[in-house]
Amino acid sequence: MLESLTPAEQVLSILYSTLVEYVGHAEKLKLHGDKNFIILVGLQGNGKTTTAAKLGYYLKKKFNYNPLLVPFDFKRPASFDQLIQLGKTNDIAYLDLRNEENVKSALSKIKPYMEKNGFNVAIIDTAGRKEIDIPLMEELKLINDYFEDPETLMVMDVTLGQTALDIVKGFKQYLNITGGIFTKFDSSAKGGSVLSFRYVTGNPVKFVGTGEKIQDLELFDGDALISRLLGR
């Protein structure tokens, strides 16, 4: 097959398949048993809250899971309203911990509530933060360490520029990131930040966000990403 290609095409073709191999393909969420914890982390405004609702919808509609949305951003104005509204509109349950005294006491309410009401996956939406903000990163570590073997997904905007690498490294210093979700694939950004993520964490990218609506979540497709990157 390669013989019929020009040298330039051959190079591209090899580059293409190497890159596809490298970024990997869709990988399932790490869910098992009757209690699972998905924690969404990342920079401010990159799409965590929206993605939390999308994931709940996806797990409920496609796989009959019984998901529980847990707004856990005590910082951004109306962050609770945002996720609770999304839960109500799309018929996904939520747990309102707004009146808890502190992070620890709020955390301690999640598992018992799941047990009592038969929820098998909690989706925890955390506050946006920058990796250079040490107190906030310490707080996130506390949340992450509270749960046994959580799926800790970093939500990143695909339009992020050349500092994406350092950002991912920064988060990794505090957390055991297990995967990534990239949002705003409906923009014209190529997706170089996805390669950065993959490079630094070695973790799979699990989903991409392709719009603002609840259904706009797709399994990550390595082929499609590389085509996009190489402009094919």
Binding site: L43, Q44, G45, N46, G47, T49, A53, K75, R76, P77, A78, S79, D81, Q82, L83, Q85, L86, T89, K130, E131, I132, D157, T159, L160, G161, Q162, T163, A164, D166, I167, G170, K184, D186, S187, S188, A189, G192, S193, E212
Partner: protein, 270 residues
């Protein structure tokens, strides 16, 4: 690579620096070309070019009479529009603007109106809200119909990606409503996340087509960002950066300064 490190950088290292700061390939190539041509030191050339770029536009915010002064905020999803509105309301409140009105033109995103309402309450300023899903242009119309007199009206809009032409047209409609109703708009701000890479250029291009953008607010400047891309943007579109967002709190807003900008780009040691 840090441009300002003691060691003299090779041409390749200068190139690498510019790319890593999101200046983009065209700018970087042109810079290297000039560097070779002029036989200048890269540091001098770099500072000179940046200063020239920002000196070629006027960063002064237009608050000219007649009242009310009207600002519209537009930009990509999550870039910091709503938070910037709160900061700017606070900024002008501290500068003698008495009656300030916020118009919650994001009727789409869950919690958007509540978010702006919380800021309005904290600031003690008025707000006009629409219903979920209501045509944003009609919310703007309602807001502008409110009995004043107002010194300052700030209009929030939903986030939108630069590829969504329907949503971009919505901005054109909002602009028309304001002009019909009041006859002027003082500023249309493109709110740009300074962590954004070259996509910022596409954002500028698409938004400027839809609405007459007059200034840029560069948010999340406190982050690990490398907002070199605004240099080619300012060069191409002749639109100044007017404010910097430097955190999530109400007073984390600064007027743009070239010195702050240059030290951001050269301060890190990556």
């Amino acid at each position: 690579k840090n441009l300002f490190s003691k060691k003299n950088l090779s041409i390749e290292e200068v190139e690498e620096f510019l790319i890593s700061k999101n200046f983009g390939v065209s700018f970087t190539e042109a810079f290297i070309e000039k560097l070779k041509e002029n036989n200048a030191h890269y540091l001098e050339l770099f500072e000179k070019l940046i200063r020239e770029t920002f000196d070629s536009v006027d960063p002064k915010v237009n608050t000219d009479e007649p009242k009310p002064v009207i600002f519209v905020f537009a930009g990509s999803n999550g870039s910091g529009k709503t938070t910037s509105i709160a900061k700017i309301a606070n900024y002008y409140k501290n500068r003698g603007f008495r009656n300030i009105l916020l118009i919650a033109g994001d009727t789409f995103r869950s919690g958007a109106t509540e978010q702006l309402s919380i800021w309005a309450e904290r600031l003690g300023v008025e707000i006009v809200k629409g219903k979920t899903g209501q045509d944003p242009a009609s919310v703007v119309f309602d807001g502008l119909s409110k009995e004043g007199p107002y010194d300052l009206i700030l209009i929030d809009t939903s986030g939108r990606v630069e590829t969504n032409e329907n949503l971009l047209r919505e901005l054109t409609k909002i602009e028309k409503v304001v002009l019909n109703k009041k006859g002027h708009i003082n500023e249309v701000f493109l709110v740009l996340d300074s962590l954004t890479g070259l996509n910022a250029f596409s954002q500028m291009e698409a938004f400027a087509k839809a609405i007459n953008v007059t200034g840029i607010i560069l948010t999340k400047f406190d982050s690990n960002s490398a907002p070199g891309v605004v240099v080619p943007i300012v060069q191409t579109y002749k639109i100044p950066v007017k404010f910097l967002g430097t955190g999530e709190d109400i007073d984390n807003l600064e007027e743009f300064s070239v010195d702050t900008y240059i030290s951001k780009l050269t301060g890190g040691n990556k």
